[in-house]
């Protein structure tokens, strides 16, 4: 197991290197630059701005320089927000996304697992059809529809919440529901599928024959194997949830990290793009690793590989 983890960790180094390289050159290949605005600046001014950020150097030299800074953990200044560094921006925004992500993940797991378990245990009954129909709707309704709908109902009509903002504990409820609902739907369907497969196996029949009760069969015998698909889904999903969602942050006015993934690219904020991409990449890698470890732990058959 330790060797497996060590190998996976070592593998991340070339992966991150390739991601950084591709990101660097893709950003530079994109037409337009950080200092293009609808009001043209003089050549002199442009030259001074480029010199300030080292953009006047040959491209390959810039690449080496940025790689060197990245190795030192320095993500550089933001072009769009000149008095901030990318490190500061991420340090400022990430805790917000993390909090929202954890809350959404909790919503997704509680609702999704409950629905999935109930549905699989009472297959083809109303217990199955209704939660699964809801899950289908949850999957089909995008967050940019769900969010405004929830705001319309609970903030504008019932007046239980503010329409947007991130100040009070109650400001967390609607965004967490919006973001969590989509993942809950996924989790529900995956859990149902996984559990059904297990529940039809011989050892479950044996357990039933021995007189084990429904709850005991579900929780003790079926759950561990049945949740394997959910766990492998949760790896990348958690990485995505915890690093923020552009749509949900925009709808609810949340100062999280998700919006930077999109706006940094639009602004050609080269260093910010690099910082956001690498940060996300690390998360995806770490959570995939965690998911794999969990899978190995949950599925004895994998341990031999």
């Amino acid at each position: 197991m330790l060797r497996f983890i060590a190998r996976r960790v070592l593998e991340t180094i070339p992966v991150l290197f390739i991601i950084a390289t591709v990101t660097f050159f893709m950003m530079r290949l994109a037409p337009g630059g950080p200092f293009d605005t609808d009001k043209q600046v003089s050549k002199e001014v442009r030259a001074h701005m480029e010199a300030h950020y080292g953009l006047d150097k040959p491209l390959f030299e810039q690449y080496l320089l940025q790689m060197k800074h990245l190795l030192q953990g320095d993500l550089g200044p933001s072009f769009k927000y000149p008095s901030r560094t990318v490190n500061e921006i991420i340090a400022d925004a990430f805790p917000v996304s993390l909090e929202l992500g954890v809350e959404s993940l909790a919503v997704a797991l509680v609702l999704g697992l409950l629905a999935g378990m109930i549905a699989s245990f009472r297959q083809n009954s109303a217990w199955d059809h209704i939660p699964m129909a809801l899950a289908m709707i949850g999957l089909c309704v995008p967050t940019f529809v769900m969010g405004p709908l929830l705001i319309s109902a609970f903030a504008l009509h019932l007046d239980w919440f503010d329409a947007a903002g991130w100040f009070l504990p109650r400001d967390r409820v609607l965004p967490a529901l919006t973001l969590g609902a989509f993942y809950a739907a996924y989790v529900a369907r995956l859990a149902r599928g996984g559990l059904l497969e297990i529940l039809n196996q011989d050892f479950i029949r044996t357990a039933r024959a021995k007189g084990a009760g429904g709850a005991r069969i579900l929780l003790k015998h079926a759950l561990r194997g049945g949740l394997l698909p959910v766990v492998s889904f949760l790896g990348p999903a958690a990485a995505g949830l915890l690093t923020g969602s552009f749509v949900v942050e925009t709808i609810f006015g949340i100062p999280g990290l998700g919006r930077y993934f999109v706006t940094a690219a639009f602004n050609r904020d080269y260093f910010m793009v690099m910082g956001a991409v690498l940060f996300y990449a690390v998360f995806v890698i770490v959570f995939n690793l965690l998911a794999d470890i969990a899978l190995v732990w949950m599925n004895p058959r994998l341990r031999f590989e």
Partner: protein, 548 residues
């Protein structure tokens, strides 16, 4: 277990869950909204529709930043809240020499920075020194170019700032010398680029010419405006508080202003409806018509000094032929565009400069005349649109631009029987294409930086970086230069009239409409006035709970 009890249990479980999630907050009746509280405590809550890039008036450009910085800084002159005409700011009065080339500003003796230090003439000289320092790379440094040697210093041709026309005669007297009379100087001075900056504070936190200097953080910030920076959390909020050191603090009625940076118009509009914001810069385009019709007391849709037009690349056939450009400009129905497509109260535009720009209204107009357009097109060699080559219309990706472009495409098809191909590019790609003048026809817009026709007409001079059409006309350039160097208002405006007539005759651009700003505003906001530049005046605003 019967099926129906099962169902009931599911329902109960679901209800329980949703109740758990939703009853956490108090569900008791109508709560007091943030706007209600703000009305009581004079805390004005503004939806500002984007995160400011910075709050350094010399490097931060754009309306979003401007709107906040007006509360934090004060220039020598400030804009009148109603018509943006120059009024005394830090300077309580000024003298202009007979030749119009020397301005002497007399500063108030009670003007203070937010740290309590006096605002002196030397502060202004040092600020302008920083603004013109080439290595700062200030985008708006050209706003200071009417001043003697400002341009030569800014472009590095001279290095001694003493040769530039700014001089502190004593603590309270500032002399500004111009290379030629520029009667619009005072209007220009309302702009952020003329604000003083706290040079000694800036030096404390880094190099004077370092764009990344963190002096604008709330913990370091020093300004000289009616308010001072208290909190700044990116993408969350900016909070400014009344400055007790401001010379006119007794007449400032707001205690705090809260700026919300959410960039989604829809989100801001929902915050407005739920009582989180007193005002929103811009109603979502899809909702303007609704507010104008059903909630007219909550919206103020005022004309702006911003023109929407299409640029022609006059170096490429067939648009190098003036007759083709005229035919395109004459064969569209601008009123139909503003009334049925853009629908935010815009005014159809038949010239470049918006009406009543500091008393100037262009007489030159493009006509809408379809038979004449057809005749011109035939004369250019395309009778009934036959053999008309492939022409692409470029616009930056945005729903409204697309809708307008599609409507025009249709009008040209019907009226001239020609096919224009639409092509959209993401904003920065579009800017790059425009800079290289690598297009045939392209959507564009221009907003005034200050109240004078030159802010529009100078765009299309040969040397202007914003021209981007390949169009060049010696007489036009000459007229703009005459207007720039003449002190006499009547003579200047006559030159502008002639220049605009050339522009509308040669047609390197096709004017479409003048923008309006559909601002949402609670009835409790008093002392707020709309103006052509959307220039805020936080000094005159107060909140009246009784008006709600």
């Amino acid at each position: 277990m019967s099926r129906s009890t099962g169902l009931r249990k599911v329902t109960v479980a679901m209800l329980g869950l949703s109740a758990l999630a939703t009853f956490l907050p108090c569900g008791c009746g109508k709560r007091e909204t943030l706007v209600d509280i703000g009305d009581r405590t004079q805390e004005y809550r503004v939806g500002n529709s984007d995160e400011p890039s910075d709050l350094d008036p010399q490097t931060a450009i754009g309306e979003i930043e401007h709107y906040i910085m007006v509360s934090l800084f004060e220039g020598l002159v400030i804009g009148d809240p109603k018509d943006v005409s120059p009024k005394p700011g830090v300077a309580e009065r000024w003298d202009i020499s007979a030749d119009g080339k020397t301005y002497t500003f007399h500063l108030r003796n009670n003007a203070r920075w937010s740290n309590g230090e006096p605002v002196t003439a030397r502060d202004f000289v040092e600020s302008y020194h920083r603004m013109l320092t080439p290595s700062l790379g200030a985008q708006y440094s050209y706003m200071l170019y009417p001043v003697t040697n400002a341009e030569t210093f800014n472009t590095g041709k001279i290095t001694n700032f003493d040769e530039v026309g700014f001089k502190a005669l004593n603590d309270l007297t500032l002399e500004v010398k111009l290379h030629s009379a520029a009667p619009y100087l005072l209007s220009m001075m309302i702009h952020d680029s003329w604000f003083p900056v706290p040079v000694s504070t800036i030096k404390k936190y880094g190099a004077i010419d370092d764009r990344s200097n963190p002096w604008t953080r709330p913990e370091h910030f020093v300004g000289n405006g009616p308010f001072t920076l208290k909190e700044w959390r990116m993408h969350s909020h900016i909070l400014v508080e009344r400055s007790s050191n401001y010379w006119d603090a007794a007449n400032v009625r707001l205690n705090k202003i809260y700026f919300d940076p959410e960039e989604s118009f829809d989100t801001q509009e929902r915050m407005f409806r739920s009582g989180e914001l007193h005002t929103v810069r811009q109603a979502p385009p899809s909702k303007v018509a609704f507010y104008l019709k059903y909630k007219p007391d909550l919206i103020n849709d005022y004309p702006q000094a911003t023109t929407e037009f299409y640029k022609f690349n006059v170096t490429r056939p067939p648009l190098n032929d003036k007759r083709v450009r005229e035919a395109l400009a004459m064969s569209i129905d601008r009123r139909a565009i503003t009334e049925t497509v853009s629908r935010a109260g815009e005014l159809p535009a038949f010239c470049l400069t918006p009406p009543d720009m500091a008393g100037y209204t262009a007489r030159a107009h493009v006509r809408e005349d379809i038979p004449e357009a057809r005749r011109l097109l035939a004369e250019a060699g395309y009778p009934d649109g036959k053999n008309f080559p492939r022409v692409e219309l470029l616009y930056n990706t945005l729903q409204n631009h697309k809708a307008v472009a599609e409507a025009l495409q249709q009008m040209w098809k019907i009226n001239l029987n020609i096919d224009i191909i639409l092509h959209n590019e993401e904003w920065k790609v579009y800017l790059d294409t425009m800079r290289r003048v690598d297009y045939a026809m392209a959507r564009s817009a221009w907003g005034a930086d200050y109240m004078d026709p030159s802010t529009f007409l100078d765009v299309f001079t040969t040397d202007s970086g914003n021209n981007e059409t390949g169009w060049s006309n010696a007489e036009y350039d000459r007229l703009c230069a005459v207007a720039a160097n003449t002190g006499d208002k009547a003579a200047r405006y006559a030159a502008f009239q002639k220049a605009e007539a050339i522009l509308m005759d040669e047609m390197p651009i096709l004017p479409i409409f003048f923008y309006t700003r559909p601002r949402l505003l609670r009835p409790s906001v008093k002392g707020w006035y709309p103006n052509l530049l959307d220039q805020p005046n936080f000094k005159s605003i107060y909140l009246d709970p009784k008006a709600e």
